[in-house]
């Protein structure tokens, strides 16, 4: 119940943040600019529009999650609005989770808006509403949930600039870690290989949520992959949030 109150309040706060609308504007702009880009290609025009559209939603969604998320907890601490909250009969984790769900709700609304613009543009080109795109967008959303958790983790102990940097690193590592697999194969068997494999499995693999290419080409994705990816997202988010709560719990608010 307390979580819900904080979440709704956070949603109200985030929705008033101008950064959100700036990013939304750019996302819409890039989706519409793809129309022009499509004119330069030879062959399938719709593919360019779909690729740019999905990439924009993914990229600007991540920016929203990071820029707003890293300010969420920090602002409360800086502005000392947190004092009146923590002194209430609220457990510290309820505060963090409230902030988290508030931002997730905000992202859901933003993503929905971007999706509508995107699907409308695709409709103008292919004269069909391509509902399959929503599958890719759904998994982009799952990725954003995880990024939000990471942003909140860093926000609870670091300044917005550093937190943004760390969150960005998380995002880059997440999209890079799949390539370590080939590297590990080249290491001769031994303790180094085992350690490398442990590191590989613990590093976030955000490519698991990347179904953009499959959806654009109309390939079928095995339900098993979908299920496992969603579960991976859920579990990793739980992991990050637990970490955040752990750090936040013993924190002195000077």
């Amino acid at each position: 119940m307390t979580i819900k109150v904080i979440a709704l309040n956070t949603f109200k706060e985030a929705v008033r943040d101008r950064i959100l609308y700036l990013l939304l504007f750019f996302a819409a702009l890039s989706i519409l600019v793809s129309r022009i880009l499509a004119l330069l290609t030879v062959g399938d025009r719709a593919k360019i529009i779909k690729d740019v559209g999905l990439a924009s939603i993914s990229f600007f969604g991540a920016l929203m999650a990071i820029l707003i998320g890293t300010g969420l907890v920090y602002k409360e601490i800086e502005k000392r609005t947190i004092f009146t909250l923590i002194s209430k009969p609220m457990r510290r984790h309820e505060f963090l989770l409230g902030k988290f769900f508030g931002l997730v709700l905000t992202l859901l609304v933003m993503l929905a808006l971007m999706s509508v613009i995107f699907l409308a543009l695709v409709f103008f080109h292919t004269f069909s509403v391509e509902w399959k795109m929503l599958l890719a967008i759904l998994y982009i959303f799952i990725e954003l949930i995880l990024i939000t958790a990471v942003a909140i983790l860093f926000s609870s102990f670091s300044t917005p600039i550093l937190s943004s940097l760390f969150s960005l690193c998380f995002y880059l590592i997440g999209h890079f870690s799949w390539s370590l697999e080939t590297l590990i194969k080249k290491i001769p068997a031994g303790i180094l290989k085992v350690m490398a494999q442990i590191v590989y499995t613990i590093l976030p693999d955000l490519e698991n949520f990347n179904f953009k290419a499959e959806v654009v080409h109309g390939l079928t994705i095995p339900p098993q992959v979908l299920l496992y990816s969603a579960a991976y997202g859920f579990l990793y988010t739980v992991f990050i949030l637990s970490l955040a709560i752990l750090v936040f719990r013993r924190r002195d608010f000077i």
Partner: protein, 305 residues
């Protein structure tokens, strides 16, 4: 008398500086607050007042010592249910209106919806913010913020109210109003814990005080016990006597407009002056005996460290 708040031997270290050096802020703080009293917590800046308060509220975790609220460990949510807190220089969500703001906090205390409306309205009335109820907090003046902060501290009808510098930045009328509210709270059976360094106000309303200097409690107890009733000196304002006539009787503080203000330390000298006035047909404008004030005590304590 039931003890509402009990602090025992609380220590707190902070790590300060780039190469962390341990600095002890609270060096074994102990005191207790009884039910239905107004308790003043005084000290110079940096003494540890706000740190103590934050320890009580669970914003900071003490390294050693025990804190109990209503007989329960201070971190228990149940203990916090009956607590109200107004921080120093409060900042609140400035995009909310006064009404939304109080409603938000009422929700955190799980006050039911219909009850909430009533309570918010009565609180706004209590702190005199009725007119501003739909105004966004970002447009509030310092005094208005202080009042709405007080309202927020009372939103759950707490039994113990903790106020950090509640009178700071208010004009004399505002200070009077807040003082009146605090006295009213006591009349309703609530306990008030007050941090301040505006000693005149403390003197006016507090029952008991504790003085903290440099992380240590130097003295605590009922105000009347701490401040002796002894007369320190008497200030007499008179006219019609020359300075040389008053030589040796006391300290002449100022002399202009025909009036002389003299500070007399010895009782016998007062009688001498009165005789002198009568004999010379001079005039006494005022005679004020000054007892020790809290300020005097305070300065004494701080200087002795």
């Amino acid at each position: 008398m039931k003890t509402v708040l009990a602090i025992e031997n609380v220590h707190k270290f902070f790590k300060v500086g780039f190469i962390p050096k341990k600095k002890e802020i609270l060096k074994g703080v102990s005191f207790s607050v009884a039910e239905s009293e107004i308790f003043g917590y005084l000290g110079p800046n940096g003494a540890g007042k706000t740190t103590t308060l934050k320890c009580i509220l669970g914003l900071i975790f003490p390294d050693r010592g025990k804190i109990e609220i209503f007989g329960q460990p201070h971190l228990e949510p149940r203990a916090k249910e009956r607590l109200g807190f107004l921080p120093e220089n409060p900042y609140f969500y400035d995009y909310l209106t006064a009404r939304e703001f109080l409603d938000f906090y009422a929700q955190l205390f799980r006050v039911k919806k219909d009850e909430r409306k009533e309570r918010v309205a009565s609180l706004l009335n209590l702190v005199g913010m009725d007119r501003a109820r739909d105004l966004q907090l970002r447009k509030f003046s310092r005094g208005m913020l202080q009042r709405i902060g007080l309202a927020q501290a009372l939103v759950n009808e707490p039994s113990l109210v903790l106020l950090d510098e509640p009178l700071g930045g208010l004009d004399p009328l505002g200070r009077k109003e807040i003082r009146d509210i605090i006295i009213r709270l006591k009349a309703e059976g609530k306990t008030v814990f007050l941090c301040s360094h505006i000693l005149q106000d403390i003197e006016m309303i507090c029952d008991r005080v504790a003085i903290i200097v440099d992380g240590k409690i130097l003295s605590q107890g009922p105000l009347t016990d701490l401040i002796s009733e002894k007369i320190l000196f008497t200030e007499i304002t008179l006219s019609g006597l020359a300075a040389k006539d008053l030589a040796g009787l006391g300290e002449s503080l100022s002399a202009h407009g025909g009036r002389t203000l003299i500070k007399v330390f010895h009782e016998e000298k007062i009688q001498e002056i009165l005789d002198l006035v009568k004999n010379r047909n001079a005039k006494i404008h005022s005679l004020i005996p000054r007892t020790q004030t809290l300020e005097d005590l305070f300065v004494e304590m701080v200087k002795s460290q």
